[in-house]
Amino acid sequence: MSKVRWSRYVLYMFALFALVLSACSNQTEGEAEQDGDNDSTSEEQVEITLGFYSSGSADQKMEELINKFEEAHPNIKVTTQNAPYSQFFQKLDTQIAGGTAPDVWLSDGVFVQKYAERGAAKDLTEWINKDLNKEEYFGLDFNKDSDGKYWAVPQGIQIGALFYNKDMFDQAGVDYPDDNWTWDDLKEAGAKLTLDANDNNANASSFDTSTVKQFGLTFFNITEGWMPVLKSYGGGVLDDELKNSIVDSPENKEAMNWIVDGMERGILTDPADLQAFQSPMSPFPSETAAMRIGIYARVLAANETGVNYDVTVLPKGPSGERFSPVIANSWIISESASDAKAQAAWEWIKYWVTEDEVQKEWAELGEAVPVKKSVANSDLFIGSGEKPENKQAFLDSFDFAGTLDVNAVWSEWVKVFGDNVNRAFLGETSVDEALEEADQEVQKVLDEFYNNQ
């Protein structure tokens, strides 16, 4: 008898434990379905989960906008899930693995293809074609793959421009940059703006590269470093299909030589110089660099520290080509969302991009270029009175904007490419050798995923 009893106890404990576990995870889904069943009004009640990564003051605004959306769509109830950036994506990947992903989530633009190509994102092509007039929005095409399918809709756009510190230019007696500048013009001006501990500029014979206290241009990693230079020199990392490396090209060599020369002369920050800062983002807002290649969000830090600055379009390459890097942070609908939930999630996305009020309120935060062109072109964005004055430069840059060759293995090829070119930046290897090795390693990463080797 006692045998039966004790095994039963263990069984109870297991059952209890399982109950606790299931209560933790699946509560919302159960409720939602029940709501749907009990509802007898014409429109079915749907509850969706929405995930987004936190960015300070923006969280509150996001919640406000979601409340407004719920008011406008009484049949849809939104439950939010958010976390700081890196935890958010870790958690999201785990949720997708466990089948508990949010129905719609905000993805960093560079991760859209990671989810799309691995089958976690829903194909939005039909909805976009049906409900959105593509002419009215910036950046829809940045989430389009080579087959013409759309996988996400931009939430806000980050696009690169050249930031310059007016006070430093005035002090050095250098003309402000304009839209005729080439990268060589930038370097020439940068040399006059680079100062060592004794206030010698980079053109002076007594200039000491080891004691630079003010850099001409702060240069970091891919978006605000090598990608815009490589592309405007006619080079790049991946081919149009985004499945093959085109690293080892004469155009890239020319661009790399331009960069390495700038670093050797102390005009551009090299990776070791950046190590001295709390963050690789700080040289410009802390007024240790006269210029930066910056995406739109960088205006926040510059405005916060009160730098006297403005922006213009990025310089041209030697043959007049331009390139402005774009990261379109976007809404993705989960492939595993049920039809009703996916439809409700689409209502949210549509609400986000089409409603002027939403677009305006979000634009007021000043974190991103609004997706809706009419709002971006309005005074609210361009003439907000906040620095930088020439916000039009960001909008003009859409004419020659492109993504960062974003594909499913983006993080991985960026790392191997970055590791190799950094060695050239630090003078540990030649440009030729760095590009040759980067070419092989990038191709290996691509082959492993796309050709399953």
């Binding site: 950046l274 963050s279 690789p280 993080s411 991985e412």
Partner: protein, 320 residues
């Protein structure tokens, strides 16, 4: 046999054991029930995950799709993966520098703080503060010292006429710098373990040694060291395991402000196994490959601990 229940009550084993040795006693069953919360935890969160991770290590698994069995593919790939070998080498290098340095310094510190001094508690506390600080806080302290432009270390070097160093950005120096910071952070904890060991050494043994004419060094060598060898062994095993699992420090100190793909630099010179595992698994979604790294790490740690346990017979004395 007239009153079996009484017999069972007094000597339960006599009744049950002869019939079936595997059968549990009444107390045994209750014991099992009492530990069942832990048992369930063990089965669900440890045993199951262990088996799952072993299966993943034999699969191609990107987390977003179901794992696909590929046999030992991940392990053969590991053998040919240069960065993996580099990470293993760096991990061993880190351990070889860190474990002896931390053990010896913690012992010296513990001996020094085991004296009857005024303000002793303050000193002990001071050494324990880094232990309870988070790595992010430690990063700022370390940066104040090793920042290539504004750091104390380079200021001192230039004052005495030596050339300035890049520290964390120098492929040769990055691991030694990380070790120095890790020792600084971890030493207080090991010191406390040593202090506990030192306080268990009977005072009369020192007195006896003194009567025999032993000096300070001889007392330390022949009384202290043998009597705290059990503690030293514990410290060695703990330190080895923590260095093999080092992750947070390197992530925070080399990751360019939280960028996991930048961590382990420059040029993978501070890439260690745990960091490589995390990067492959969570940043590049190669969970199968990451699981294979985890199993290799487990086997290495298992062997090292086994060797340490075997060797302890030669030098560790436990009080009888």
């Amino acid at each position: 046999m007239a009153n079996p229940s009484k017999i069972e009550h007094n000597k339960p084993t006599q009744v049950t054991e002869p019939k079936n040795k595997k059968r549990l006693t009444h107390e045994g069953k209750w014991g099992l029930i009492m530990i069942s919360p832990y048992l369930i935890h063990f089965v669900v969160f440890i045993a199951f995950t262990l088996i799952a991770s072993f299966y993943f290590s034999l699969s191609k698994y990107d987390m977003l799709n179901a794992p696909e069995f590929i046999g030992i593919g991940n392990y053969t790939k590991l053998v040919n993966d240069q960065v993996f070998w580099q990470a293993l080498g760096n991990t061993v290098y880190f351990t070889v520098l860190f474990v002896p340095a931390q053990t010896i310094l913690a012992l010296i510190l513990a001996v020094a703080l085991n004296q009857q001094l005024k303000g002793l508690k303050l000193f002990r506390m001071a050494h324990f503060i880094p232990v309870i600080s988070s790595w992010t806080v430690v990063l700022y302290v370390a940066d104040a010292i090793f920042n290539p432009r504004f750091g104390l270390a380079n200021t001192i070097l230039s004052k005495i006429g030596m050339s300035q160093q890049q520290w964390l950005n120098d492929e040769m120096l990055v691991i030694p710098v990380l070790v120095v910071v890790a020792v600084w952070k971890g030493i207080g904890y090991m010191m406390v373990i040593f202090l506990a060991g030192l306080q268990n050494v009977p005072e009369d043994l020192y007195e006896a040694a003194e009567i025999e004419g032993a000096g300070v060094l001889k007392k330390f060598r022949h009384v202290t060291i043998p009597l705290i060898s059990g503690t030293t062994f514990l410290v060695l095993v703990l330190s080895t395991i923590t260095t093999f699992q080092a992750f947070e420090q390197i992530y925070v100190m080399t990751g360019n402000g939280g960028d996991i793909t930048a961590a382990g630099g420059p040029n993978n010179s501070s890439m260690v196994l745990m960091l490589y595992l995390f990067q492959q698994g969570f940043a590049f979604l190669k969970m199968g490959y990451a699981s294979a790294i985890a199993w290799v790490l487990f086997i290495i740690l298992f062997i090292i601990t086994l060797i340490q346990v075997k060797l302890q017979n030669k030098w560790v004395h436990y009080e009888k």
